[in-house]
Symmetry: C2
Subunit: 294 residues, 2 copies
């Protein structure tokens, strides 16, 4: 196993432990069971790992930033739960298991999503109080709210719903992904940087890194949806086609999609080169994400 | 018109103006239209008025606390939108108009609720940055997250769903309401107090005031549901009975419910008496809320 795989595995374990620690422990309430069901379902923990790896790269306190990383993962998980609902994408399978509303009913799935989103902001407030830097926590709170709000992730889901059955232009598809997956992914890097007291130049470079990487990641997702199985994807393959969703391979072809993903990967590395510190972790993570299938 | 009615009307207008000001102004996105639809639908603005009136009573900066008051109202509105969904209470009428999912479709209603909840936390972070007191804003952020999370309002909605078709014990009904409506209502008072730098004794007294008032308010709600019309209620009368929900009048009778509401009103006023400052506004508001029908 390569160094990056080891890092990914170790950090995913750290995050799983922390996720479990921060979950409510009240008497077995069905909504908490539904929250745990979706939060524990696994997934790559990509976003919180980016938060930790960014803080680590900038020599920040990685332990201290854990609640922020967990908050990012909670927001990501909430978005998956709500996106899967019958009124939205109507997906029965997620992360290799029945979706939250299939396993726990629609009412509990809606509330579990609401609960995870709310808990994320509680964690950020706790982070600020524990670290004696309330201002930094407030900035992170605002970053998270903006990235996941109607001008970020929620806006992207709206565009996605509107796009069903339509053929999008390439720039429309890019805007959709910039909001739907790019905003939170970029936010996860920015939050790690803010927690580690990044200066403006550094934050700017990391924002470019994350946004290029986010788009590359999405293109690779589209390519994998064409070639993967339910087992490797954790969701139904061909889901995009079934929902008549516009994808990169459908719009510009498989080869051009691959070329584009590699170009974005190059742009992401170039952004890292402008940092004052070497960033082997963030370089390695970018490679793993873009060349997931190899 | 009495002084308290004038105050309520004036503050409701202030809040409506501020709500509008803080709404996203992006290109006409259907989710923003759905958010506006529900936020502008009116309602008494009781919770944010309590936030402002509490800050005013403690001689805090009422203008500065406005984003917090608006955040409280956004969280309340999000909860109404999600509670009305077909998978939840399946209510077609709200605040005298078709519910959000009837007017804007289920997907947009889910996302509008998500958007309002997320925006609330963005407002609180903005409040902290504008006022140079990030720690106070973080405490308010945590209060809001706890009151609206699974150990507060969401937990109450779970109990409410579980209670359909069952006859609850009185203490179970009280716990349900303490979570479902009491938590956020109490939080709206506490946030106003924290913003106005209340000391511990004062915060404690106001917490008692708000929790007594919250329960009295709910009992009166149950009584009005028995006697009101769709026009006066803004929702379908007899809704509780139709959903086989336990109510105070059903459990302890109409007269005993009235007596209980008045007793709680007395308790709320008594809590105010322990404050070092006179609190005519909060007294008057309590009276208006408990004796709404008179």
């Amino acid at each position: 196993m390569g160094q990056i795989e080891e890092y990914l595995n170790r950090r995913a374990e750290d995050i799983n432990r922390a996720l479990n620690f921060y979950m409510p422990k009240s008497p077995a309430m069905p909504v908490i069971e539904a929250m745990l069901y979706s939060a524990e379902a696994g997934g790559k923990r990509l976003r919180p790992i980016l938060t930790l790896a960014t803080a680590e790269t900038l020599e920040g306190d990685v332990e201290a930033v854990m609640p922020v990383a967990v908050a990012v993962e909670m927001i990501h998980t909430y978005s998956l739960i709500h996106d899967d609902l019958p009124a939205m994408d109507d997906s029965d399978l997620r992360r290799g298991r029945p979706s939250c509303h299939i396993a726990h009913g629609e009412a509990m799935a809606i509330l579990a999503g609401d609960g995870l989103l709310t808990l994320a902001f509680e964690l950020v407030s706790g982070y600020g109080m524990a670290n004696g830097n309330p201002e930094k926590a407030l900035i992170i709170c605002r970053e998270l709210a903006r990235a996941s709000g109607v001008e970020g992730m929620i806006g992207g889901q709206v565009l996605d719903l509107q796009a069903e059955g339509k053929k999008l232009e390439l720039h429309e598809l890019e805007q959709l992904h910039a909001l739907k997956t790019g905003a939170l992914l970029t936010c996860s890097v920015r939050c790690g940087a803010i927690a580690a007291d990044a200066d403006d130049d550094c934050l700017q470079a990391l924002t470019v890194y994350a946004s290029k990487l986010g788009l590359a990641f999405q293109i690779v997702d589209d390519l994998l949806d064409l070639s993967g199985t339910a087992e490797t994807l954790g969701k139904m393959p061909g889901d995009d086609r079934a929902h008549q969703k516009s994808t990169y391979p459908a719009l510009i072809g498989v080869e051009e999609s691959q070329r584009k993903a590699e170009e974005l990967y190059g742009d992401a590395l170039q952004a890292l080169d402008t940092l004052k510190k070497p960033a082997p972790l963030l370089e390695g993570l970018a490679g793993k994400l873009v060349f997931r299938d190899r």
